[in-house]
Amino acid sequence: MTDQVYPSMSIADPHPPFVDGMQKLSTALGLTGLLMLILAWLNQFSGDSTLVWISLLLITSGTILYAWRQYMPLPEGIKNNGVWFGRLTSRGWLAWATGLVITFFYVCLYWYPGLVGLGAEGQSNTGLVAFFDPISMAIKDKPASQWFVYGVLYTLAILIFGVKFILKYRHNQYQILRTLSVMFFQLCFAFAIPELLDRLNQPSMDFKNMWPLNYYFFFDWNLDKLLSGGNLGLFMLVWGIAMILIISPILTYFYGKRWYCSWVCGCGGLAETAGDPFRHLSDKSLKAWKIERWLIHSVLVFAVIMTIMVIYTYLTGQSQILFLNSYNIREWYGFLIGAAFSGVVGVGFYPLMGSRVWCRFGCPMAAVLGLQQRFFSRFRITTNGGQCISCGNCSTYCEMGIDVRSYAQRGQNIVRASCVGCGICAAVCPRGVLRLENGTVDIKERTTAVRNIHVPVGEVKILS
């Protein structure tokens, strides 16, 4: 009889305890970078133009190193161990603290930019905004604004958490491609191109950000800017209208709203990358679904009415329409929807209500694309109901709060207006039940309950 003691052979320890040198180092790096931002906010740094670069570099390297240490030693696969135990990921104190900090930051950005250091009326910046002046000077030869700070941090978040997301889902080609896509569109379309245009004194525009998400597209100052911007401005005007009327319906017909919401959009980009650890916090109840339908379509109606009034005022010069004033309506929209809903609630509440609160309950763009997806698109998620074990991973990890399981266990296709096609339901399914498809074979029956044929005979090729 041998009396052998085997030590843990766990080379693939799913959540390594916090003892590893690399983990400590990367955490220290990232926190130092963050601390520098806070100190700058409190006016403790001034004058040294390299500090902001160092701070961002520390945050970047810390986050990526940490993610590398967390995921790369493990075999490829789904990494959801302990999600409902974590202080950050299961609405523990860390989640509340994070939510509060982000919310506070957004409140400052929108309503109290002076608090983050925006110089009032011609005065130079202080605090956090001044800290970013060197970057702004380098890119567009102008001092920073609070929106520049926000843009840099937002883009950085999508990039570094995008890298983390790719490492986490590196076994899944769809997830990798989709994430590279949102990283590209954020960096180039949302950030670099508009800033460079600004530097060249051209009208600037985020070419992928379309009305009604870009609710100010038809505001007088934007129209004036585009109309006085020469050929480029005119092109932007035509492009913006073509995006909503032609390009997006065609793409949504072929691929569903996912081409935008989880491949291109900046809000979606942040939700999919930085928001990924919170995707399971979305409410799956029927009640939430009901609220969602009322709320998101109300916002769409609000956006449409507001825009019609704004255009009317622009064309006629009259701002009073019946008992409503178009300037007031537009201000209220900007305050309620543009700032409070999409910014403060949309991102600030990530750790409490999940990463897609805005996309699900508020985004008028998502509402438009959702209606197209529901009634006029090839996209659906097919389900192999026989193999479904009703485990609930798909529903739990659906960031849009869709009860995916209720369809899967009946073998029913999933055609839902809110589905952004992120594909995580299919990734976490332990039985390979779900598949995102754009096929046309049985398109007419895509919402019928019983449907089995996925592959038409003509598409089957016998090799040799």
């Binding site: 041998t2 766990s10 409902w84 026989g386 074990i389 485990c391 332990p430 039985r431």
Partner: protein, 378 residues
């Protein structure tokens, strides 16, 4: 008509749902395990922190009231098939319930027995010690949660689907695991050698101490009656504070043996899932088909057969004679990060009549096997 369904697993609940779809009969579903139906196959994810109990319940709590399905939490101790009455054990107290007090008895017009399974034990010395258990019920997961705090090793006995799930569960909490598998390769009575070896590699890659061709001889205990280690069949001693028994399950019907209903390993049923007693049906894991269908076994404890049987029972309860016909065999599983699906019969050994094509990826983690009948060329 009053239909009573004993068991709120997938089979019992599917029967209830379909009866409601087809009729206005009174429906009562009884369970001693949990108030509400949950996905048994997802129990592992509770322990691993992927989901909460609420997340593995496919229907919201309002569903039952809305569909007029009455739920009772309690343990039925005896069934009087003659008087058509179920008697509850008055001593049973559910730890947590919001369903209210258990009645002392319930009468029925038609009864469905959807009793599920129980863990196999093969008379191993020490098998009834504390910290020795299987993984089948919600209570099993609760007890794993309780007993596995701060343990230094778990030993899992049995190389099947539940064994690997248990290994994955402990692994998710950094608890070292030793798996004793009697066969010379993992699950090799079901998987052909190539697949079996692939899964074996996957288990080892995840840091599990996999001992093939190793059985359990004895479980050692301390003065408090708790397991402290095992002795394997070659005679090695392995210290541990938890022993998982995962060498299969059997129909949970021992308590019915004297009740007058005809049983073998399970409750014997005809193709309409009717038992030897009129107005009494059996469905799911606990049912044993009197006539075995080609390509299938007469007891199949898998999720989808439970669901199919529940639907068939509902039809027969509502007066549509429908025979149980599950079609060809299929199944699926997940072994750590390897997803597995099978359709049709895949014999473990090659045969004269069958041809097989097997492809395996360079990484040794993906494979496809096709099996077909040989055609004699003239």
């Amino acid at each position: 008509m009053k239909i009573v369904i004993l068991g709120n697993g997938i089979s019992g609940v599917t029967a209830a749902r379909f009866v409601r779809k087809m009729s206005n009969h009174e429906i009562i579903v009884i369970s001693k395990e949990t108030d509400y139906f949950f996905s048994r196959t997802a129990l592992m994810y509770l322990y691993m922190g992927h989901m909460r109990l609420k997340d593995v319940q496919p229907y919201e709590t309002a569903f039952w009231q809305k569909n007029r399905i009455q739920l009772i939490r309690g343990e039925v101790s005896t069934i009087d098939f003659h008087e058509k009455i179920l008697h509850f054990d008055p001593k049973f107290r559910a730890q947590e319930t919001i369903l209210g007090a258990t009645p002392s008895s319930v009468s029925y017009d038609k009864l469905v027995l959807a009793l599920g399974s129980a863990t196999n034990k093969f008379g191993w010395p020490g098998q009834d010690l504390d910290r020795v258990q299987g993984l089948y019920s919600y209570q099993d997961v609760e007890s794993m949660e309780k007993t596995s705090q701060d343990i230094s090793r778990a030993v899992i006995v049995g190389g099947g689907l539940i064994g690997i799930e248990m290994a994955e569960m402990f692994h998710s909490r950094h608890i070292p695991v030793t798996m004793l598998v009697r066969e010379s390769n993992y699950w090799d009575m079901v998987l052909p050698p190539e697949e079996s070896k692939m899964v074996g590699r996957q288990i080892v890659e995840h840091g599990i101490d996999l001992r093939l061709a190793t059985g359990l001889k004895e479980i050692k205990g301390n003065d408090q009656g708790q397991a402290t280690g095992v002795i394997t069949n070659p005679g090695d001693q392995i210290d541990c504070e938890f022993v998982g028994l995962t060498a299969g399950v059997h129909p949970n019907i021992r308590w019915l043996k004297e009740s007058g209903i005809e049983t073998d390993r399970g409750i014997l049923v005809d193709e309409y899932l009717q038992s030897s007693i009129k107005d009494v049906y059996a469905s799911g894991d606990c049912a044993q088909m009197r006539t075995t269908r080609a390509g299938r076994r007469n007891i199949e404890a898998v999720w989808y057969t439970g669901r199919m049987m529940g639907e068939v029972v509902a039809h027969n309860l509502c007066g549509n004679q429908v025979a149980y016909d599950p079609g060809i065999w299929f199944n699926s599983a997940k072994f750590f990060d390897i997803e597995y699906q099978v359709y049709g019969q895949v014999p473990v050994e090659s045969s004269e009549k069958l041809e097989t094509i097997y492809w395996e990826g360079d990484d040794g983690e993906k494979s496809i096997r096709l099996i077909f009948e040989k055609i004699q060329k003239e």
